[in-house]
């Protein structure tokens, strides 16, 4: 699963492709066998057909972006070219066959060059993704331990005082910290899907509506999002959840209104989340997405919006803040539309 997420391909899809390629070769051989007896075909034509068939398969494999299969195929084709060249030169003595063998070798050389370049780019991309995932999990782990140990100190401390004077106010403090632990665990639970989910596609409207239901009692949320699939997985839910939570936590008043709409940008879609809270000062709009940055009286561990940015970037998207006139905050998450296959 992790490999699928990194490469973006599933084993099932690969099997379907291999089946398609084999079917194509079988059909080709059957049709040729039916119309022409084997002994009637000259060696030069067999080689020409092999070269054309190989070329067609190469184009198909290139279009499917299978660099590793292409490398194997390229080496196979190179061997075929060398073998044919030797046979043609020493046994058949046919100039046309030699020429075809040379074309095959040239073709295999080009395929190998292309596939090695593609393979290198893929490896670089996978390494980049792995680094992001490791950073993400490291931060999540450190953040969770920090939040829980911090909260436990506060909870145990207030319980100690409660035993002395039975003041209900102290229990409110305990409850507040327990809710904070719950929120931290919620974030971590979503991060777990990083290891189990595929980097495929997800319906944006369903995702936003699901998160809006989680906050039904805490804010008035209106959703006007188009029915579109974007590149991503359930981790995006955590990103949107964090922005809603941020609006409510930093809104500075009760009865926060959150409006969510989408804007079609062609290959991308903007998810625009606005609220009527106190807003985010212009001077810190860039900084709020940095690791450990937090602000205001309700400041947390400073990981929430950093995780939002890392999550969105994982799916080649971006998140930023714009001014929301006349009041409140405006978050924009720009996501890639999923290609319908």
């Amino acid at each position: 699963m992790l490999r699928n997420m990194l490469t973006g391909k599933s084993e099932r899809k690969k099997l379907v492709d291999v089946f398609l390629v084999l079917s194509f070769i079988m059909v080709f051989l059957i049709i040729r066998g039916v119309f022409e007896p084997r002994e009637a075909i000259p060696i030069g034509r067999v080689l020409t057909e092999s070269a054309l068939l190989s070329f067609a398969l190469s184009v198909y494999l290139i279009s499917r972006r299978y660099s590793r299969i292409l490398i194997t195929f390229g080496f196979g084709l190179l061997s075929l070219g060398i073998y044919t060249h030797i046979l043609s030169e020493y046994f058949f003595d046919a100039d046309s066959s030699v020429m075809v063998a040379e074309i095959i070798m040239l073709l295999s050389g080009l395929i190998l060059l292309y596939s090695f370049m593609r393979f290198y780019r893929e490896m670089r991309d996978i390494n980049g993704r792995l680094e992001t995932m490791v950073t993400f999990l490291r931060i999540m782990n450190s953040s969770l331990r920090h939040d829980i140990l911090n909260s436990l100190t506060v909870i145990l401390g207030y319980l100690e005082f409660y035993r002395e004077n039975k003041d209900e106010f102290l229990l409110d403090k305990v409850e507040e910290k327990l809710k904070y632990i719950e929120k931290s665990l919620h974030n971590f639970k979503n991060a777990e899907s990083l290891m189990g989910g595929e980097n495929s596609q997800i319906n944006l409207r369903e995702l936003v509506e699901e998160v809006a239901r989680d906050f039904a009692g805490e804010a008035k949320i209106s959703v006007k999002v188009e029915d579109v699939n974007v590149v991503g997985n359930s981790l995006l839910k955590s990103a949107i959840w964090n922005i809603f939570h941020n609006s409510i936590k930093h809104g500075g008043k009760s009865g926060i209104k959150i409006e969510v709409r989408s804007e079609d940008l062609g290959s991308h879609v903007d998810l625009i989340i606005t609220d009527n809270g106190v807003g985010i000062p212009k001077s810190i709009r860039e900084k709020v997405f940095e690791e450990g940055f937090s602000f205001g009286n309700a400041a947390g561990s400073g990981m929430g919006l950093f995780i939002v940015r890392k999550t969105v970037e994982m799916f080649d998207g971006k998140v930023f803040i714009e001014s929301n006139e006349p009041e409140g905050a405006k978050f924009i998450i720009r996501l890639k539309k999923a290609v319908v296959s």
């Binding site: 331990r145 911090n150 145990l156 401390g157 450990g292 937090s294 400041a299």
Partner: protein
Amino acid sequence: MRILVVDDDYAMRDLLKLMLKDYEVYEAENGREAIEVFRSTRPDIVLMDIMMPEMDGIAATQELLKMDSNTVIIGVTAFASHKGREILKAGARDVIEKPFTKKKLIETLMKHVNK
């Protein structure tokens, strides 16, 4: 005794104020604010959280010690093993690991005040 409590979590600051109600307590929510408060109040002891926004506890410890090298700074951290070592290296006298009790906090403070 005057104590400066530096922590970005207001619930933690409230708890520390409650635990230290018999002393004169000042508070700051990050390293940068701690420097300002320290300059105006000159506390006897600073209880310094480490992971804070804007300026963390380690940088703040170094800055405070530049202002007064005799300042008693005690690190308060959830990660005593590595963050604790860092703040001790920066010049803090001791480290209290979270979670801690009121008894443990007072004992640690007294250990350094009576020196």
